[in-house]
Symmetry: C3
Subunit: 172 residues, 3 copies
């Protein structure tokens, strides 16, 4: 179970939807391999969620890449992806505080029909970004020991979020 699912379970005491692979494609000719897969993440509470394990479970082929790049893209404009500290949950709580300060709901927005959290969600999504890319080395993501992948949910009432994972590289 991933950290996101564990968190939901602790709060709801019922079975928890976890991420699912919707479609997949693997191409492997000689010296360049491409793998692309859609990952559906279940709805998350507004906040910052560590999804490293949930994502890695969906891309086992990464083990077979000697050198390459991993790209992860979110197909939404009010949620985002970033890389940050993977240990202390307080860091994710403080991200919410800091991003709410940087992009307050109280500004004189014009686009307010979807609620006060909507326009700040769009701006936060662009500040943090719709994709991350991470080098692959010897079959593993070459992240630092404290780095993890965050799904940043900026809406109060979110739906599921689709991610596209794209792996390319030289097979081992």
């Amino acid at each position: 179970m991933n950290s996101v699912a564990v968190k939901h379970q602790a709060q709801t005491v019922r079975s928890v939807p976890s991420e699912r692979s919707l479609q997949s494609k693997t191409i492997h000719h000689g010296n360049q391999m491409w793998i692309q897969r859609t990952i559906s993440m279940p709805p998350q509470q507004r906040g910052y969620h560590l999804i490293t394990d949930a994502v890695l479970r969906q891309i086992p082929e990464i083990k077979s890449i000697r050198v390459g790049l991993f790209h992860l893209f979110i197909q939404h404009t009010s949620a985002s992806l970033t890389i940050n500290e993977n240990a202390d949950p307080d860091v994710r709580t403080d991200f919410e505080t800091a991003m709410n300060h940087a992009v307050p709901e109280s500004l004189p927005y014009v686009h307010t029909i979807e609620g006060p959290d909507d326009m700040p969600a769009h701006v936060k999504a662009s500040m943090l970004g719709s994709s991350i890319s991470i080098p692959i080395s010897q079959g593993k993501l070459a992240m630092g020991m404290w780095q993890g992948i965050y799904l940043c949910e900026h809406r109060d009432a979110a739906t599921s979020r689709n991610l596209i994972a794209t792996i390319q590289g030289e097979p081992s």
Copy 2:
């Protein structure tokens, strides 16, 4: 005509420069294809401009990629690229409001020789980023239905902006 050009036309009632391809390169050997092209965007007003159609018109070869990545890079430090909501123009108006709040012109900057909008333009450019990358799947950009590409012009009096489009992938 792209949305940017239409907007200019409405304001000026004269013929409007549109984006141009300056140079191009296509390499296609077997299982990996590279296409790279410089796109010149005409000067835009300070603000956030939807350029998805203008960019797509310059990279018709994307249709021939089965799986790959599209990378778009801006060769400037006071304008940026991001992905956000492609429907309501009010969202782009509110981006200006929110980014001006996050990076105000009133801070005690040292680098002021080019005017009060210059230093905030540099910081906004780095917050939003100088490149975007989007997965390609079955000959199309695999963006979500509400996603579009923004050219973010942070200067009051901007010149034309050069973008470098790089496509790589497995041909169909």
Copy 3:
């Protein structure tokens, strides 16, 4: 010598550690080439440091790429990478001012055990990003004439920082 090293030397009047290549890998079969290398940057003062030359010195193979992409990743969560103005050092000073305004140390953070600069460092790192990618064209990074690569050190007392450089492309 790179600008970072020069700056340290001016302050300390002793021999200065410069960036080092820790490990390296080159794969070159026919039409797709991959190069990946870990670059260790010596500790920097809190602030924004131009590292273009230091990075380029470690990746001479870029000269042999006709079309491709350069990816640079930082394996840390309180330092970041961005692309911005490469000429006036005042711009880098003003980045510190602007980012401290956007993410103040005075917010009611929960994660404070590592000092008041720690949590803002994490948020700034995500706002600016843990990687940059730049097109390669005819053996050179296709940056604009005013663009350079910044290492953004967000901690007061930093250690050395590891970067992973990944180059891929079509050889000349």
